[in-house]
Amino acid sequence: MEPVARPVVHLVDVVAVLGGFPALAGASLTVERGEIVLLRGPNGAGKTSLLRLCAGLLAVERGEATVLGCDLAVDRAAVRRRVGLLGHANGLYADLTVGDNVRFWGATVGATEGEIAASMERMGLANRLMDVPVGRLSAGQRRRTALACLVARRAELWLLDEPHAGLDAAGRDELDHTLRAAAAAGATVMVASHELERAGALATRVVEVVGGQVRGAA
């Protein structure tokens, strides 16, 4: 992992537009390395847009936005290679097995077989589910597979949109354990969630997103 001297995320009065409508309207937020930040707020407040902006998927219209030391207005591609976004979709191939999917995503960053096996082990997928096609999995198992892909990709900044959705109790515990371990190892995590009790207990800081702006941000 490359050393990050500056804040992992540094947004100042950022404005972003999605489909002709303002998705972010002057959002400011600073996130330091190793933090687990919970974004909470009502539907349509801009939580997902904020995550997509940090992932380099949404263009900055106005303001200053730096992620992992890269200016989003200049080089979004550099940011994309170093972040992992898990949104409402899982980004999996239904006809491929769990092992095939994790191997594919790990291979995009040159992960070794050992790293790929470890990421499946960590998410409880190593044995009984490894050779099962993703199309036959439950929603929770698919989510767990998607998280294993994220682990295999060695992302420095994890951007998770409702990560607990569809997971059973064991899967939720595994996810929380994985996120804490990732943060302890130097990764930074931003979670958008409506499950305030669980996600709040996991987070090291909670910020509120309302009307495309961030409140309670340090």
Partner: protein
């Protein structure tokens, strides 16, 4: 990972998806064969069939291409994988080349079966002198079709009504391939007294088409699939 590494990875993944799902074998090949049989029923004349066989082979290939391209991008968009590839910073050039390679391999299998069916159904004869021209025609035309299919598949992937949009966008564009490949195949098969030397000028058109869309697709694919 560089663009060629990504291309190999994406191509292997796409072929593995096909191998696991068997869509080409169980659905596309029967569809293409059915199209051929329907042509035979509609024309119902051996002489006419023999004369138009090269055109029918390529028409059936074009229709099947649409199905294969739709499928190739449906697996990418069904669970947001194309979006995830972008987030992962996977080079768009690699995705384009990889998906083109996988499409090329699937079309090659399809065309081999279609040509075999033409020999049986339409009593087409392949002369030794035309074999080199025939192989070159298939290589050049299939490469061009794979590039166009991937480019327009990517363009339509995020659009509403993509199932109907893709044929509207793609069929006019592949018309030069249909014409060039049909004429070159006629020359290779000696249809209506044509000789292999009549077919080589059409190869130039097919290679130009493939080069144009190969370069264009490599440069434009990232912007097409980007938000």
């Amino acid at each position: 990972m560089n663009a060629w590494g990504i291309a190999r990875l994406v191509a292997a993944k796409d072929l593995r998806v096909e191998w696991r799902s068997r869509i080409l074998i169980n659905q596309v090949l029967p569809f293409a064969t059915l199209v051929r049989v329907m042509f035979a029923f509609a024309l119902d004349n051996d002489q006419t069939l023999t004369r138009v066989a090269p055109g029918l082979v390529w028409l059936a290939t074009m229709f099947s291409l649409l199905v294969v391209v739709q499928r190739s991008f449906a697996v990418e968009t069904a669970d947001g994988a194309l979006d995830a590839l972008q987030v992962a910073g996977v080079r768009a050039t690699g995705i384009f080349l990889g998906k083109s390679l996988a499409l090329l391999a699937q079309l090659a299998v399809l065309e081999l079966v279609l040509m075999g069916a033409a020999v049986v159904l339409y009593r087409t004869e392949v002369h030794a002198g035309g074999v080199v021209l025939l192989v070159t025609t298939y290589a050049a035309a299939t490469t061009g079709l794979a590039f166009v299919g991937t480019l327009y598949g990517g363009l339509a992937a995020g659009a509403k009504g993509r199932e109907t949009l893709l044929p509207l966008l793609m069929l006019p564009v592949v018309a030069p391939v249909l014409i060039g490949a049909t004429r070159a195949t006629e020359a290779a098969l000696g249809t209506e007294g044509a000789t292999p030397s009549d077919g080589w000028p059409w190869i130039g058109l097919l290679i130009l088409f493939a080069a144009l869309f190969g370069v264009g697709g490599t440069m434009a694919f990232g912007s097409l699939i980007d938000e």
